[in-house]
């Protein structure tokens, strides 16, 4: 059973003082998939990853990673996983190369060839000292240390924040290779194109709770098509019709968004209303994300 899911979280809660950071979070990551972990700032992504690493202890609920308890079995588990923190701080007296080696050795060893390849691919200078690195280069230290480890699971917290587009492409290649090698990846990210390009399944969290989870195809089904049309007459039943959102009328022109499941009925309705022109925009995941993000802001 544990081989089916690399990560299993049920009803996990965690509060800091009176602030609930996780409020009944559910998350399951299947073995071998790349799982996107999305949510607005402060939604609880980093907190969830820290609980999975045994750096924080959940208040209640169940969390399991690679079949073990993340708090109790932390040390043994960490040999089988690698982590890239969202905010990488380096030791001012250690060079980047030393930091990579140290972190990898503390996990149980490093493959020198893979290390050399990655340093090359990320175009990284390992001889500078901690403070001399730019933000993106600090991020590379954590990425190279994590990707050169032979592990089953990668936990990545906004790993590409600060990388330039070329490095971002290198990162995507690496993740694709990791998946081909059968590794599981949990990827927290704010970059939607990255999520669309890499992830098999996605979980969106908001205020410490999962609000949506599924494959990208399933999620696309939840998105809306936006339609702008010029009609001879305005069908009275359009306003208030289930599945129609954000209706705006400007003379003969209407624009609105419609849920995928009601698309058929709405199209039938407007085609009978003397359709003169039609602009139809396909659903994008971005709209879905924005919709979920915006609710939390209001």
């Amino acid at each position: 059973m544990s081989s089916e899911f690399a990560v299993l979280i049920n009803g996990l809660t965690k509060r800091f003082g009176h602030v609930p950071a996780l409020d009944g979070l559910d998350l399951d990551v299947r073995t071998g998939e790349v799982h996107g972990f999305l949510g607005p700032n402060g939604a609880g992504k980093t907190t969830a990853l820290r609980v999975l690493l045994g750096l924080l202890r959940g208040d209640s609920g169940h969390a399991e990673i690679l079949g073990s308890d993340p708090w109790r079995d932390a040390v043994a588990l960490h040999r089988r996983l690698a982590y890239v923190p969202g905010d990488v701080t380096l030791w001012p007296t250690l060079s980047g190369g030393e930091a990579i080696d140290l972190l990898a050795r503390l996990r149980g060893g490093i493959d020198p060839r893979r290390r050399a390849t990655l340093i090359d691919r990320f175009d990284f200078d390992p001889t500078k000292k901690g403070r001399a690195y730019s933000k993106g280069n600090r991020q590379k230290v954590a990425l190279i240390a994590a990707l050169s480890a032979d592990v089953e699971l990668l936990l990545l917290d906004e790993p590409t924040a600060g990388l330039d587009p070329l490095m971002e492409a290198a990162f995507r290649e690496c993740v694709a290779e990791e998946r081909a090698a059968g590794r599981t990846v949990l990827l927290s990210s704010h970059i939607l194109t990255e999520v669309e390009a890499l992830c098999d399944r996605v979980t969106i969290i908001r205020a410490g709770r999962a609000v949506e989870t599924g494959t990208l195809t399933q999620l696309r089904h939840l998105t809306r098509t936006s339609i702008t049309a010029e009609l001879a007459e305005l069908p009275a039943s359009l306003a208030g019709r289930p599945g129609v959102h954000d209706l705006a009328v400007n003379g003969n022109q209407v624009s609105f968004e419609v849920d995928a499941e009601h698309l058929d009925g709405v199209m039938r309705l407007i085609s009978q209303a003397g359709l003169r022109s039609l602009i139809c925009q396909p659903p994008t995941l971005e709209q879905l994300f924005l919709r979920h993000y915006q609710v939390s802001a209001s």
Binding site: R57, V75, P126
Partner: protein, 529 residues
């Protein structure tokens, strides 16, 4: 400079707790000493007797400096309290200046401020202003407190002026060291080392009767301002002039560098780690060794100087006939030299405790800044990560005390022609202090494990033990309270007799404190704030 006012207010807001505590301690100690002396030695005869005993003890003069007027309460207060208050004012200034300049740059907050419409040097200017204000406020309160005890106003002003003068001079010194290095901890350490050097100069001068050496140190000026004993007011101008020169120097240095950078350019490092860098202990050693080497060098020099002075201690006193008689009765000049060493080693132990607390606090710094996270997310048990740093704190404090003892014993031994004997004897006596020093490391680890945000409170324990040990007898503090200090349990060595019991208890206490701290850390969340 535009924006300085806002930054001053920001600094005052951030330090609204810390600043009053510092000022309170700086003011309370001299006032408490004055009131204790007035109460315990109410008439002139008693005071003169106290003065005579104290002046006969060069070991004590090394610590406190000379007495200029043993007849008055004020004179004795100035003698006993000047060094304490002046050193504390120096430490407060160092801490404040670094905190509001280099630490801000290191954290990146200075960049946020630098991007706002404020003058380029508004940040250091604000730091100097805040620190100057803190010293002035301390001085005003000192005048009020001492005069309120019925001491003469002029003397109170001179005393307060000397204390604030020390604070201002170290405001300048810290402003300079903050420009030299890119790292706040190093900036602090450099300034504290300068303070230690000045303490050493004054102490060496006063113990050996070499006045000129004492005059090299601002701490020497602080005493030689002769508060309550025919004041030398012009020394106040010397303090002010030196402080202004130092601040101007810091300003020159600041103009020659970029924000965030030190004056020394960063060097490159190896592309791969050496084979030995593979454990949490190796990492802790790598992070802590620079600091340890600095402390070891400092202790070697200071130990050597004190050792070289020790033999003169007997000579000075031997010149005074009544004291020579008394000496002969209690066992000759050798006893005096032993007392001198025992007093000095007690001081070394207190300073070494500063190292122990600093080294044992390192895990907290690593946790706060986020560097503990990647290490603990690798396959490292929490206790092993912590144990690496604790090992550095314990072994490091033992090592620096051993070095100080060896250097002191060797220097003394070379002078009297028995280097090997004296080196082992004094080194042994120095090692006797180690278990007490370890208790401070234990307290730090306990706080880190159970109350991580309060780790810095370990410094308060150190100051409290320091005061209990140095002033407990004078202020006649109850024996049971004084025995809370681990240093109260260390036998007076060399010269005294020692049993194993106190050492066993001190080591056991340390063991329990560390075990509780490690267990606490294993059961808590990692906290980055």
């Amino acid at each position: 400079m535009i924006g300085t006012g806002v930054l001053v207010r920001l600094a005052l807001r951030r330090d609204r707790l810390l600043l009053p505590v510092w000022i309170l301690v700086i003011v309370a100690i001299p006032v408490a000493i004055a009131s204790a002396i007035a109460e315990l030695y109410p008439d002139v005869g008693q005071r003169l007797a106290l003065g005579a005993t104290m002046m006969a003890n060069p070991a004590l003069q090394a610590l406190t400096g000379p007495i200029f007027d043993p007849a008055s309460v004020g004179g004795l207060t100035a003698w006993r309290a000047t060094t304490f208050a002046a050193v504390l004012a120096g430490l407060m200034s160092i801490m404040l200046v670094t905190r509001h300049t280099r630490a801000e740059e290191e954290s990146g907050r200075a960049e946020l401020i630098g991007a706002a419409p404020v003058g380029r040097y508004a940040l250091p200017a604000a730091a100097v202003i805040v620190t100057g204000l803190a010293n002035l406020l301390a001085a005003l309160l000192l005048v009020a407190g001492l005069a309120g005890q019925g001491l003469p106003l002029a003397g109170s002003i001179a005393f307060a002026g000397a204390v604030a003068g020390m604070g201002l001079v170290f405001t300048g010194i810290a402003a300079v060291t903050a420009q030299l290095t890119a790292n706040a901890r190093t900036a602090n350490a450099l300034a504290v080392a300068v303070l230690g050097l000045f303490f050493l100069l004054r102490s060496a001068g006063d113990a050996s009767g070499a006045e000129a050496v004492s005059w090299l140190s601002p701490l020497g000026w602080a005493q030689r301002i002769r508060a309550f004993a025919d004041e030398r007011w012009w020394l106040l101008a010397v303090f002010a002039a030196v402080a202004v020169l130092l601040v101007a120097g810091a300003d020159l240095l600041a103009r020659r560098r970029d924000i965030g950078a030190g004056l020394l350019a960063a060097r490159r490092g190896p592309a791969a780690a050496s084979a030995s860098l593979r454990s949490p202990l190796a990492l802790a050693w790598r992070l802590q060794r620079g600091m340890l080497f600095g402390w070891a060098a400092g202790f070697a020099v200071v130990g050597g100087v004190f050792g070289a002075l020790a033999a003169s201690v007997g000579d000075i006193v031997g010149d005074i006939p009544q004291i020579a008689d008394m000496l002969a009765r209690i066992g000759g000049a050798g006893v005096l030299v032993d007392t001198f060493f025992a007093t000095q080693l007690g001081l070394f132990a207190l300073v070494a405790s500063g190292y122990a607390v600093q080294a044992a606090s390192r895990p907290r710094a690593e946790e706060t800044i986020g560097r503990a996270e990647p290490v603990l997310a690798a396959s490292v048990p929490r206790w092993r990560w912590l144990a690496g740093h604790v090992a550095c704190a314990l072994a490091g404090s033992a090592l620096i005390l051993l070095i100080a003892g060896l250097a002191a014993g060797l220097a003394h031994g070379l002078r009297i022609g028995e280097p090997a004997t004296q080196a082992t004897r004094i080194a042994g006596a120095a090692l006797a202090q180690v278990p007490a020093v370890w208790v401070l490391a234990g307290i730090t680890v306990l706080l880190f494990g159970l109350l991580p945000r309060m780790t810095a409170v370990a410094w308060a324990f150190l100051v409290a033990f320091f005061l209990l040990g140095q002033l407990g007898e004078l202020l006649q503090i109850d024996e049971t309270i004084r025995r809370f200090s681990p240093f109260a349990h260390v036998p007076a060595l060399p010269g005294g007799t020692a049993t194993a019991t106190p050492f066993v208890w001190l080591c056991l206490t340390t063991g329990v404190l560390i075990a509780a701290g490690v267990a606490g850390f294993g059961h808590r969340d990692l906290k980055s704030d």
